[in-house]
C-alpha cells in the first residue's frame, strides 16, 4: 500500500502528469485567474477607448476583436474553469471520496484548456485579425463575413466543449458513485447539489454548441446553407441553436455560485441554511426552465407572436425559483449571529448585486420593453451584475473561505476587507451608469458614441480601472498567504463552518478519505 501515501511528486511532472483532484483543482484555479487577467485586460482596452467620444486608441475592427475575445475569455476561460477548479478541490472532500471518479480523464479535461486558449489568443496575430463577431458569433457575420481565423475559433470551441463535457461527466460520476456511506443525496452540501445539476446542464448543452459551430464550419468551407436564405436556410437558425446552448450556459455560470453562497452564508450566520429542500428543488427548477426560455435573447428577430409570448412567460417564471433562493439566504441570516469576514462580505455583495441583476433580467424578459432594451448597454449592465457581482464575487468569496483549508495559512483579513470595499465601489461605479446610457439609447458593441453619453461612460471607465486594480490586492493577498501566511491548524478555521471538508486536518492532506468516512445518519445536511 506504501506508494499511496506519499505526497506529491516533485517538479513540473507533478502538474503535467497528476491525477490528484487537489492538484488539478489548483491548476484550474490558477489558469482561470490568468484568463481573468487576460479577459480583464481586453475589458480595459474597451473601457479606455470608451473613456471619451472619438476614436483614440484602437481602430473599430480591433475594438470588435476586443469585445469578442473579452466575452469569450471571461465566460469560457475565467468563470467556467474557476468553478470546475472549485469542484475538483471540494466535491471529493465534501462527499467523503478519495478523489474524482475518473482521475486521468480529469487531468486531460484540464490540460486541453491552456493550449486551446493559446490558439484562440493567437488569432489576434493572424491575417484578418481575431474573431470580431461578438461572443455570440451570429451568422452570417461569423460565416461568410468572418476573417479566416474563424476556423481556428471553431475548432477551439469544439475542444472547449470536449473539456467541459468530460469535466462534467467526471463530476456526475463522482457525485453519483463516490459518496461516502450514509451521504444520501439529500444530505449533500448544496455546493455539490448545484454542481451536479450544472454538470447535467453542461452535458446537455455543450454538444449543441458543438453542433452550432459545426454547421458554421460546413457553411464556411463546404458549401452548405444552414444560415443562408439563398439556399433555404436561415441566419436566425444559428441564433436558436446558439441560445439553446447560451441560455443554460448563463445558469451554468451562476448555479455553482449559488452553491458557494449557500455554504458561506450559513457559516457566518452560525445558523443552518434555511430551506435546504426548497433550495434543491429551486435549483432543479431553474435548470429545467433554462431549456425553454432561450429565445428571450431574440425578441427582435421577428418571431411569430405566439413564440414571443411563450418565451416571455417562461422566462418570467424563472424569477420564482430564484426568488426562493434569495429569500432562503436572507432567512438564513435572520436571527443568526452574523459576522463579516471577507468571504461573508463578498457573499453579501453577491446577494445584493445579483438580486439587482436579476431584477434587470426580469425587466429584460418583458418582451415589449425588451424592444427598447435589447442590444443596448442596459443588457451589458444586466449581465455584468449577474456575472461579475454574481459569479466573480462568489468565486472570490470561495477563495477567501477555503484558502486557509487548502494551504493551512490565513490570509490577511484587513487586506481582504479592503479588497471587498474597493471592488464593491469600483464595480458599481463601472456598471451602474451603464443602465442609464442603455436606457437612453446607447447600443452595445460600439467603439464610439454620441456626445450625450460622455459623462456616464467616463464614470464607467474610471470604475473599471478601480475594480480592475483592486484585483491586484487580491492576487497579492493570495500569494502572500500561500508563501507566508499565518499558519492555521484548527480543523474548522471558521467557527460556523459545517461539512466534511472541515473535519479534515488543516491544511488538507494530499490524499484524503482513502477509506470513506462514516456519516452520522441523524446529522442534518450541511
Amino acid at each position: 500500500m506504501g506508494d499511496h501515501h506519499h505526497g506529491p511528486a516533485k517538479g513540473l511532472g507533478r502538474w503535467l502528469f497528476t491525477t490528484n483532484h487537489k492538484d488539478i483543482g489548483t491548476m484550474y484555479l490558477w489558469f482561470s485567474f490568468a484568463m481573468f487577467i487576460l479577459g480583464g485586460f481586453f475589458a480595459m482596452v474597451i473601457r479606455a477607448e470608451l473613456f471619451q467620444p472619438g476614436m483614440q486608441l484602437v481602430d473599430p475592427a480591433f475594438f470588435n476583436q476586443m469585445t469578442t475575445l473579452h466575452g469569450l475569455v471571461m465566460v469560457f476561460g475565467a468563470i467556467m474553469p474557476s468553478f470546475v477548479g472549485l469542484a475538483n478541490w471540494l466535491i471529493p472532500m465534501m462527499i467523503g471520496a478519495p478523489d474524482m471518479a475518473l482521475p486521468r480523464m480529469n487531468n486531460w479535461s484540464f490540460w486541453i484548456l491552456p493550449p486551446t486558449f493559446l490558439l484562440l489568443a493567437s488569432t489576434l496575430f493572424m491575417e484578418g485579425g481575431a474573431p470580431a463577431f461578438g461572443w455570440t458569433f451570429y451568422a452570417p457575420l461569423s460565416t461568410t463575413y468572418a476573417p479566416p481565423s474563424v476556423t481556428f475559433f471553431i475548432f477551439s470551441v469544439h475542444v472547449l466543449g470536449l473539456s467541459s463535457i468530460m469535466g462534467s461527466i467526471n463530476i456526475i460520476a463522482t457525485v453519483m458513485n463516490m459518496r461516502a456511506p450514509g451521504m444520501t443525496y439529500m444530505k449533500m452540501p448544496l455546493f455539490v447539489w448545484t454542481w451536479l445539476i450544472t454538470a447535467f446542464l453542461l452535458v446537455a448543452v455543450m454538444p449543441v454548441l458543438a453542433g452550432a459551430v459545426t454547421m458554421m464550419l460546413m457553411d464556411i468551407h463546404f458549401g452548405t446553407s444552414f444560415f443562408s436564405a439563398a439556399g433555404g436556410g436561415d441566419p436566425v437558425l444559428f441564433q436558436h441553436v446558439f441560445w439553446f446552448f447560451g441560455h443554460p450556459e448563463v445558469y451554468i455560470i451562476i448555479l455553482p455560485a449559488f452553491g458557494v453562497v449557500s455554504q458561506i452564508i450559513p457559516a457566518f450566520s452560525r445558523k443552518p441554511l434555511f430551506g435546504y429542500d426548497s433550495m434543491v428543488y429551486a435549483t432543479a427548477s431553474i435548470a429545467f426552465l433554462s431549456f425553454i426560455v432561450w429565445a428571450h435573447h431574440m425578441y427582435t428577430v421577428g418571431m411569430p407572436i405566439a413564440g414571443e409570448l411563450f418565451f416571455m412567460y417562461a422566462t418570467m417564471l424563472i424569477a420564482v425559483p430564484t426568488g426562493v433562493k434569495v429569500f432562503n439566504w436572507v432567512s438564513t441570516m435572520w436571527r443568526g449571529a452574523l459576522s463579516f469576514e471577507t468571504p461573508m462580505l463578498f457573499s453579501l455583495g453577491f446577494l445584493v448585486l445579483f438580486t439587482l441583476g436579476g431584477f434587470t433580467g426580469l425587466m429584460l424578459s418583458i418582451a415589449p420593453s425588451d424592444f427598447q432594451y435589447h442590444d443596448s448597454y442596459f443588457v451589458v449592465a444586466h449581465f455584468h451584475y449577474v456575472m461579475v457581482a454574481g459569479a466573480v464575487f462568489s468565486m472570490t468569496a470561495a477563495v477567501y473561505y477555503w484558502l486557509p483549508k487548502w494551504c493551512g495559512r490565513m490570509y490577511n483579513e484587513s487586506m481582504g476587507k479592503t479588497h471587498f470595499w474597493i471592488s464593491f465601489i469600483g464595480f458599481n461605479l463601472t456598471f451602474f451608469p451603464q443602465h442609464f446610457v442603455g436606457l437612453a439609447g446607447m447600443p452595445r458593441r460600439i467603439p464610439d458614441y454620441a456626445l450625450q453619453f460622455t459623462d456616464f461612460n467616463m464614470m464607467s471607465s474610471v470604475g473599471a480601472f478601480i475594480y480592475g486594480a483592486s484585483q491586484i490586492l487580491f492576487l497579492y493577498n493570495v500569494i502572500a498567504t500561500i508563501v507566508a501566511g499565518k499558519p492555521v491548524s484548527d480543523e474548522k478555521v471558521w467557527d460556523g463552518a459545517e461539512g466534511l471538508e472541515w473535519t479534515l486536518p488543516t491544511p488538507a492532506p494530499y490524499h484524503t478519505f482513502e477509506t470513506p468516512p462514516k456519516i452520522d445518519p441523524a446529522h442534518a445536511h450541511s
Binding site: F17, T19, A101, W111, V203, P207, S225, A229, G232, G233
Partner: protein
C-alpha cells in the same frame, strides 16, 4: 432518491501519475491546428502550402489515436490485474452513459435544425405565415416543398439575380432521397440499410447473451456478424449521392447522414476491437465484460439514431 448500495467500499484505485492526458492533448491540439490550416488554405491560401498543414494534421491525429489506444490498453490491463473495484467499474458505466447522452444532444442540434427549416423557415421563405408574409418581395416565385428540390436562389434566377449579397451558389438537388414509389420499395437502399442496422443491433444482443452464458464461441460468432453488418451498412451508405451545396435539403441530409455514418464507423471500430480482444486475447468473462457492453450500448445508440433518421430524413 436512490442511494447506492453502500456495501462494497473496497479501495478505490486512483492511478498515481499518468502521461496519457498530456500526450492526448498534444495530439488533439496538433490535429485541430492542422485541420484548421488545411481548411483555411482551401479557401484562402495558396494551394502549394497545404502540405505542411496536412503533415501537422496527420501527425497530430496519429499521435492522438496512438495515445487513446494505449490509454485503453492500460485501462484494460488494470482491470485484468484486478485493480478495479466494483465501485470503480460503476464510474466507467456512468462515464459511458453520460458520454452517450452528450452524443444524443449533438444529434439533437441537427434534428432541431432540420425540423426548424422544414416546418418554419421553408414556408416563411415562400411568403407563408404571419412571420413570412412579406418575403414574396424577395423570393418571388419560390415555392416550398420538402424535399426542397429548388433553392430560393435558383427560383429567382441564380446568384446574380438574388436580392441579397451573393454568398455561394446553392444549386437544385438532383435527386430526392425520399421514399418515392411504393412499387420499387425493394430497390430502395435506405430500407435495406435500416434492416441491416436493426439486425446488427439484434445480433449484438445475441452476442451479449452469449457472453453472459459464458459461451465464448457464440459471443465471437455473433459479434463478428455484427461487425460485418456494420461494414455492409457503411459501404451501402457511401453510395448515396446528393451534393452538399444543394441548398438546405442537401445540407441537413449530409450533416445527419454524414455524422451518423461517422458514428457507425466509430461504433464498428469499437466492436471490432472487442471482437479482436475476445478472439485473440481471450478477454471478457460472464461477469466482467464492460468493454464490450459499453461498445454495444454505443451500437444501440447509433441504431436508434438511424431509426429517427430513416423516419425524418427518408420517409417523412
Amino acid at each position: 432518491m436512490t442511494s447506492q448500495t453502500s456495501t462494497e467500499y473496497e479501495k478505490y484505485y486512483v492511478p498515481e501519475k499518468s502521461k496519457l492526458a498530456v500526450c492526448a492533448t498534444i495530439g488533439l491540439v496538433l490535429s485541430i491546428y492542422g485541420a484548421a490550416s488545411i481548411m483555411n488554405d482551401m479557401t484562402f491560401g495558396d494551394p502549394n502550402e497545404t502540405t505542411s498543414s496536412w503533415t501537422i494534421f496527420i501527425c497530430g491525429l496519429f499521435f492522438f489515436l496512438a495515445t487513446l489506444f494505449s490509454w485503453f490498453r492500460i485501462a484494460i490491463k488494470e482491470n485484468i490485474a484486478g485493480m478495479n473495484s466494483a465501485q470503480l467499474k460503476r464510474s466507467y458505466v456512468l462515464g459511458m452513459f453520460w458520454f452517450i447522452f452528450s452524443e444524443v444532444m449533438f444529434f439533437f442540434a441537427f434534428f432541431g435544425a432540420l425540423f426548424y427549416v422544414r416546418t418554419l423557415v421553408g414556408p416563411w421563405l415562400a411568403g407563408e405565415g404571419d412571420a413570412g408574409r412579406m418575403n414574396g418581395l424577395l423570393w418571388e416565385g419560390f415555392e416550398f416543398s420538402w424535399p426542397m428540390m429548388q433553392t430560393p436562389q435558383e427560383a429567382v434566377g441564380g446568384a446574380a439575380a438574388q436580392p441579397i449579397a451573393n454568398n455561394g451558389s446553392f444549386t437544385s438537388a438532383e435527386t430526392s432521397m425520399a421514399f418515392a414509389s411504393a412499387h420499387a420499395w425493394y430497390a430502395w437502399l435506405p430500407l435495406w440499410n435500416t434492416i441491416i442496422l436493426l439486425t446488427s443491433s439484434f445480433t449484438c444482443h445475441i452476442a451479449h447473451m452469449g457472453i453472459l452464458d459464458g459461451n465464448r464461441k457464440k459471443f465471437n460468432l455473433w459479434l463478428g456478424i455484427t461487425v460485418a453488418l456494420g461494414m455492409i451498412f457503411l459501404v451501402v451508405q457511401a453510395h448515396f449521392g446528393l451534393t452538399m451545396n444543394a441548398g438546405i435539403y442537401g445540407s441537413t441530409f449530409f450533416m445527419l447522414t454524414g455524422f451518423h455514418g461517422f458514428h457507425v464507423l466509430m461504433g464498428m471500430t469499437m466492436l471490432l476491437i472487442q471482437f479482436l480482444r475476445s478472439v485473440r486475447g481471450g478477454h471478457f468473462t460472464a461477469d466482467d465484460h464492460f468493454g464490450f457492453e459499453a461498445s454495444s450500448w454505443y451500437w444501440h445508440f447509433v441504431d436508434v439514431v438511424w431509426v429517427f433518421l430513416f423516419l425524418f430524413v427518408y420517409i417523412l
